[in-house]
Symmetry: C2
Subunit: 103 residues, 2 copies
Amino acid sequence: MTTREGAELHLTTRQFELIAKALADPRRMALLETIAGERPCPCQHLRDQFPVSKATISHHIKELVRAGLVDARKTGQYLNCEVRRDVVRAYTAELMRRVGRAS
Amino acid sequence: MTTREGAELHLTTRQFELIAKALADPRRMALLETIAGERPCPCQHLRDQFPVSKATISHHIKELVRAGLVDARKTGQYLNCEVRRDVVRAYTAELMRRVGRAS
DNA sequence: GGTAGCGTTAGATGGTTGTAAAACTATCGT
DNA sequence: ACGATAGTTTTACAACCATCTAACGCTACC
């Protein structure tokens, strides 16, 4: 139900910047794409698909969560990540609002 | 006529990354917004609105052009910048396609 | 309770990058 | 032609950041 909302989510300036930064690193973007691909994404799955240490993955996830792009809930010893698609949509909307429309 | 096209512009992986990087820096984003605000934007105008050296502005503009987000044509001694709104739209569309839609 | 697996934190490091100063190029006005 | 104005390039530097290793904290299972 968080997937399809009518009301547009509002992003603070701070969050807008954090999102842009989070999306800027290709590896982190790739991680985000993988998370988006598999519904509840066990963090460990990411380790198998990318040649990076678990510390690095942990760091990237933290940044994605900080930006609000990913929701991470710990169930047992696993960390389940999910993309906040409403936030992604809010970001693209804000981007269009700022530089996408004719003045 | 470049402002309103039916066909979606295709972004290479490289350009997608460059755009994300270009948007990541707050100052550069602010410059882009200013450029988007005034139609033909003399580069010098930007110097008055931001406390940065002209070297820095020149550098940022170069990055924006490299990413394809800005079109810069030199007329006389002035540099006129314009936002490529079709590219912005292509970026947001690609972003939505990658992580915005439910799997 | 011990051992193994998953994730986090701390510290170190190499690379990237935003920024400015200075020197340079180019164009305009007089 | 000269001076002023606009932008570029080079070089240098400081700050940031992605990455790793190693050590740690939890949870699960036997």
